[in-house]
């Protein structure tokens, strides 16, 4: 009765047309060519030279020595050839070592940076919605993941193709010069390439089927060793269940191996022995020519014996190389898709410069991509400059979504969000950003200095006093003043082992300084106080109100006590505004808000009033 018995549907593999696969590989090569113009020609040229030199040393020289020895040529001539090749090899080596040690690494770093930065730039431009669209996000993560090494793999595969082609042509040339029929023999293994291809496909299917099984085992492992599971694992019978899952996975593994393993082993044996057989046949033929018909010399036999196998092997693996290009192409497809994606929210650098004003939400409906119902429905609200607004409601009522629309992180599905009557999209987005100071509920600290985290931009002159003052107001100074480098201390230990690690509450207090430090006319606080207790929250809001005279303040809270302080309260339920007005008006109206407020207050009030009676 396991939940895993349900058969996992095999994922339909993305298949690209040959043309697209080719174009994707070319796309990456073009990028590299643009970033580091002389890298590819140098790299490929030296690789061709190297394989030609190899041919002379390993194949040609051996043949020459053995043949000439049999023919009774003078030894001095052969010694001279050997020495000449040695000199050639050493000269070549000096150049290739220089390239490898000091030229290629520089190019490689340049290419890494260019590829990663192209992704970063795009990532900061695409709208937030992309992160919530699993399909897009998957592609995106895949594109980001090892983007550099995947791009370089294209270069390496091209290089190995060049090596193979050079090696086949030089070796085939010498074989044909010995006996044209031999070239035909060497062609047989081309068929073996398909055996390999079939085996690789089997392996891929097996690996795909194995992945969910591995995932199960890995999860069971985690459930045993992660601290977060430790208590439950000790107090319940879960371990037994988990071990059961693990055993089941082992059975599945063995079954999978039985299903594919033998077939793969057979194909591998055929694929590997094929070239050996060709060598065997060609060897007998060459031995016949040498010993009986005397049309070949011992050196020729040697070349046939050594080279046929090599040509056969290279030909058989050629198919694999082509497969490699296909697999690169699949990955590059994601990369290209991402880079070519046109963000819906454009930077609009030539747009209208934004300035303080009335923020209005007109008939806005919003649905997350892929969701089956609207997150917000027909929202209307007007926030005049300087007003203090509270958005209240249960979790999932749409408060945070509304805030994100106000910040133009999303484009509404219907309706419009306007600043001073002009739709947000028409503004220069950089200047629009400057109108808002925001602290999110699920804020994240970046591994930058305290001051940079607050300002979210590079520091300028005069910022120090500004940040210090803001921290004093937000209550964050108490903590920051104890840090070794004050407001220049790096936060988190991501890459600075002396970085400061703040608790949730401390982090919130530090980030709240954002509201004081930025002159932005509109401040948005999305449950910035969840880590504070109710009293501290109330206090915090009161300070904020005092400090924000003349500036617009929009805050979200599920503690209704804080809503009392707002000029205007909006109560959201299931994506709609169900009530709005001042606290007093809403209480008098005696509707949903009043009911909720009383429920939260009930216990306290009853008690306290009885106490006082």
């Amino acid at each position: 009765m396991s939940i895993f018995k349900r058969k996992e549907k095999p994922k339909k593999e993305n298949v690209l047309s040959g043309r697209r696969a080719f174009s994707n590989n070319l796309y990456v090569l073009k990028i590299i060519q643009k970033v580091a113009p002389s890298f590819l020609p140098t790299y490929f040229l030296w690789s061709v030279l190297g394989s030609i030199l190899d041919f002379f040393i390993y194949t040609w020289m051996m043949r020459k020595v053995v043949n000439d020895f049999q023919l009774g040529e003078p030894m001095e001539k052969l010694a001279a050839i050997i020495i000449a090749l040695l000199v050639g090899q050493v000269v070549f080596d000096v150049f290739i070592t220089i390239l490898r040690k000091v030229v290629y690494p520089r190019y490689q770093q340049k290419i890494v940076a260019a590829i990663e930065q192209s992704l970063f730039e795009k990532a900061s431009k695409v709208e937030l919605e992309c992160y919530e669209n699993p399909k897009f996000y998957d592609k995106y993560v895949r594109a980001m993941d090892n983007s550099y090494s995947r791009c370089m793999d294209v270069v390496y595969t091209v290089d190995s193709l060049i090596w193979r082609v050079t090696s086949i042509s030089t070796n085939a040339l010498i074989l044909v010069s010995i006996d044209p029929w031999l070239a035909l023999v060497a062609l047989i293994p081309l068929l073996l390439g398909f055996v390999r291809k079939y085996r690789n496909r089997l392996q891929k299917t097996r690996d795909d089927e194995r992945r969910p099984i591995d995932r199960r085992q890995a999860y069971v492992q985690r459930s045993f060793y992660l601290g977060e599971y430790a208590k439950e694992m000790r107090l319940t019978a879960m371990p037994k269940l988990m071990i059961g899952y693990y055993k089941e996975a082992l059975k599945d593994h063995i079954a999978l191996q039985k299903k594919y393993g033998f077939k793969m082993a057979f194909l591998k044996t055929v694929g590997d022995t094929g070239p050996n057989l060709v060598v065997f046949l060609a060897g007998i033929y060459a031995a016949y020519c040498t010993l009986i018909s005397h049309t070949m010399l011992a050196g020729d036999f040697l070349v046939v014996f050594n080279t046929v196998g090599q040509v056969a092997w290279v030909l058989a693996s050629l198919v694999t190389t082509l497969e490699e290009f296909r697999s690169h192409a699949l990955y590059i497809e994601d990369y290209r898709y991402f880079l070519d994606y046109e963000p819906k929210i454009k930077k609009n650098a030539n747009g209208i410069p934004a300035s303080a004003g009335t923020l209005s939400v007109e008939n806005v409906t919003f649905r997350y991509a892929g969701a089956d119902r609207d997150a917000l429905q027909n929202i209307n609200m007007t926030v005049r400059q300087g007003e203090k607004i509270a958005l209240v409601g249960h979790n999932g009522s749409g408060k945070s979504t509304l805030v994100k629309l106000l910040l133009h992180l999303y484009e509404p599905t219907e309706g419009a969000v306007k600043l001073d009557g002009i739709s947000l999209a028409d503004y220069d987005q950089d200047s629009l950003k400057e109108q808002f100071a925001v602290v999110f509920q699920d804020f994240k600290l970046l591994s930058l200095s305290v001051a940079e985290n607050i300002l979210l931009r590079p520091l300028k002159e005069g910022d120090e006093e500004r940040v210090t003052e803001a921290l004093q107001k937000s209550g964050g100074w108490e903590k920051v003043s104890t840090l070794k480098n004050g407001i220049h201390t790096t936060l988190t230990r991501e890459f600075d082992d002396e970085g400061a690690v703040l608790s949730g509450g401390e982090g919130q207090k530090v980030l709240l300084a954002r509201a004081f430090a930025c002159d932005s006319p509109i401040i948005i606080l999305d449950e910035p106080s969840s880590a504070l207790d109710p009293i501290a929250e109330y206090q915090m809001f009161r300070n904020m109100l005092e400090a924000c005279e003349g500036r617009t303040l929009i805050f979200i809270s599920h503690r209704l006590a804080s809503a009392v302080l707002a000029d205007h309260v909006y109560l959201l339920e299931n994506g709609r505004i169900v009530e709005d007005g001042s606290h007093r008006a809403l209480m008098e109206q005696n509707g949903r808000y009043a009911e909720l407020f009383r429920k939260q207050a009930e216990n306290y009030v009853k008690e306290v009033s009885r106490d006082e009676a």
Binding site: F4, M62, V65, M75, I82, I83, L85, Q89, D93, R100, P105, F120, S124, L128, E132, Y140, V141, M144, P212, R215, Y219, Q221, Y225, G227, L235, T236, A237, M238, I243, H253, I254, Q257, T269, T273, L277, G283, I284, A287, T290, I292, A298, L302, K404, L407, D430, V438, F440, K444, L446, L448, E452, L456, P458, F495, A561, V564, L596, Q600, A601, V608
Partner: protein
């Protein structure tokens, strides 16, 4: 700043210890013995494959040697050559066939079997481990490591032993062949191979150091990469220009990497060149020396060709052997952590006493501090608590964060043992009881409860769901007010939770998950129920409803709940107010309000804002 030199010294000492040969041998040997015990067939087949491959690597040289020598005879026999070639192809077929069977089919199975046996042992040990171990980061890291790596290391040790065995066979076969051709050339080739391997190791060391130096840069870059691609930071990136700060860090570290690459490139340039020249000499010098031999008749054609073509096999053999030797100390270090973990003796061990349903629970002068070291002990999370809880009591524990509330509940479940003082369950110390039997009486919902990647039913039962359990599960979910959500699930209590395994799994919201967690306490007949902020993710209405169900259900049972929300605490028979690990006030809500102490103050402050507005 003071710490740095001592840390360095420590590191050095560690390094010395880890490289001690006896330990290296001991640890690797221990792992081998473990494998031999768990899956003896693994050892047998690894060694068998080593013999097949070891001989195979040398075989082509022998065949070339034999065939060409035949050519060199005054009257060469075609039939003999055909036989040699036929022998060769048969040998290759056998070699290819056995290795395909082993690597494509069998090894995976035996590997998984070994993995299963090792993990079973590890899991058992993990469960026996004290919860306190999770608080010790060093131990915890080693432990995660032992878990993660043990199986790979076992395979690694197996492979390494196989490689050594295989290369020894290959090398002896090659040396035998070469010395037959020309002992001096064999020596020359052997020595130059060795020199080249040593030179490349020196070069590698430089690169290793470079990698150490570039690590911080790579760490920065991968962090920035993460920032951009994880949804976590997506909003922060969009509301400001932190982008520019990050880009600057990125560019700087790329420059740093390039600089280090150039430095090491220049440093190792000559070394690399020297290494290559040695290799070329080892290749060309025999070609010349043997050429003389060929012309003066002391060397046969077969010997000449074989010697030259075996050069690469020889070099590769020595190189791989040395690389493998380097890995043994590394294996030993990992295995050391594994042994350390497996040898750990849990401090919390049960006694023989079977636990009866709870009557009384007494805490006597209870003190507790996290961690073992003396300096952390100054901070007691619980500091001298005396308390008696009787059957059927409803106790609320209140206090600010860090007052020791959660710690107290962990001690009651014997997840930790007290530092001083004791806890008596029905008059006997907790340590006398059999742990599973004791815990079978205690049901708990933690603040940081965890939903498992299992079905709803399994999550509620905390284990397998037998057919008889199904009604219990429905009933428990009804009581925890999860029924409405359950009705929306197609597969009911067989619905898989979380998306760990399947995209069809259901991810519950915080409030829903909490309800499932709470249902756990209804599913089993516990006498003592501990709720640590059970309703923090619920909205006030849902919380109110839940509290009522809880109370009506818990009539006979003892209940201890921790809550931030003072409104909840009013339902309790007795309220315990904690501050800095001490029990500072105790009594009913009314009594405490009358007393006008800390509790009353806390309660008034919370109530104030509401009071002024509603009245």
């Amino acid at each position: 700043m003071k710490r740095k030199p001592s840390e360095k010294a420590k590191k050095k000492k560690e390094k010395k210890e880890r490289e001690k040969l006896s330990i290296v041998l001991k640890h690797n040997w221990l792992m081998l013995r473990k494998i031999a015990k768990m899956t003896p067939e693994y050892i047998f087949f690894t060694l068998l494959m080593s013999v097949v491959w070891g001989l195979g690597n040398a075989a082509s040289g022998y065949f070339t040697y034999a065939v060409l020598n035949e050519f060199d005879l005054p009257a060469p026999s075609f039939a003999k050559v055909v036989i040699y070639l036929a022998l060769m192809v048969t040998w290759l077929l056998i070699q290819n066939g056995t290795s395909a069977w082993y690597f494509e089919y069998y090894q995976t199975i035996v590997d998984r079997k070994l993995q299963h046996k090792m993990h079973s042992e590890l899991f058992e040990q993990a469960l026996a481990m004290d919860l306190a171990c999770y608080d010790d980061p060093k131990f915890y890291n080693d432990y995660v490591f032992a878990m993660d790596e043990s199986k790979n290391r076992a395979t690694q040790v197996m492979n390494d032993v196989g490689t050594v065995f295989r290369q020894l066979i290959t090398l002896s076969a090659l040396v035998a062949l070469l010395s037959q051709v020309d002992p001096f050339v064999a020596l020359l080739m052997g020595v130059s191979c060795l020199v080249s391997v040593i030179l490349s190791n020196i070069t590698n060391r430089f690169y290793f150091k470079k990698n150490e130096r570039t690590k911080p840069f790579h760490r920065k870059n991968s962090y920035i990469n993460r920032i951009y691609h994880l949804a976590d930071h997506s909003k922060e990136l969009r509301i400001g220009k932190a982008d520019e700060n990050l880009q600057k860090i990125y560019t700087e570290s790329v420059e740093g990497i390039v600089e280090e690459e150039m430095k090491v490139g220049k440093k190792t340039f000559l070394l690399a060149l020297a290494n290559d020249v040695v290799i070329y000499l080892a290749q060309f010098a025999p070609a010349l020396i043997l050429l003389f031999g060929l012309y003066d008749g002391s060397v046969k054609l077969g010997g000449y060709v074989a010697a030259l073509s075996l050069m690469w096999e020889l070099r590769w053999g020595i190189y791989e052997l040395l690389q493998t030797f380097i890995r043994f100390p590394e294996n030993a270090r990992y295995i050391g952590k594994y042994i350390h973990f497996m040898d750990y003796k849990p401090k919390i061990v049960g006694g023989d006493r079977k636990a009866e349903p709870m009557e009384t629970l007494e805490l006597r002068n209870l003190r507790f501090a996290y961690g073992n070291s003396e300096d952390t002990k100054e901070k007691y999370s619980l500091d001298g608590v005396d308390l008696t809880i009787r059957k059927g009591e409803k106790i609320a524990i209140v206090g600010y964060n860090g007052a020791g509330k959660t710690t107290l509940t962990k001690l009651l479940m014997r997840l930790y043992d007290p530092t001083e003082g004791e806890i008596l369950y029905n008059g006997h110390p907790l340590s006398e009881y059999d742990i599973p039997s004791l815990r079978s009486h205690i049901g708990a919902v933690f603040q940081d409860y965890k939903i498992f990647a299992a079905t709803v039913g399994e999550n509620v039962m905390g284990g397998e769901v037998s057919p008889d359990d199904r009604d219990t599960v429905f009933d428990a979910l009804e009581k925890s007010t999860f029924s409405d959500r359950l009705a929306g699930m197609e597969k009911g209590i067989d619905t898989a939770l979380t998306r760990e395994f399947s995209d069809e799994g259901v991810n519950l919201s915080g409030g829903e998950a909490q309800k499932v967690a709470i249902a756990r306490i209804f599913a089993r007949p516990y006498d003592l129920i501990i709720m640590d902020e059970p309703s923090s993710a619920l909205d006030p209405e849902a919380e109110y409803q839940l509290n009522h169900t809880l109370l009506s259900y818990a009539e006979e049972k003892t209940m201890i709940f921790i809550s931030h929300r003072l409104s909840t605490t009013r339902m309790a028979d007795r309220i315990l107010m904690f501050e800095e690990g001490k029990l500072i006030e105790e009594g009913s809500h009314d009594a405490l309000m009358e007393r006008g102490g800390k509790y009353a103050e806390m309660f008034r402050l919370q109530a104030e804002k509401y009071r002024t507005e509603t009245s």
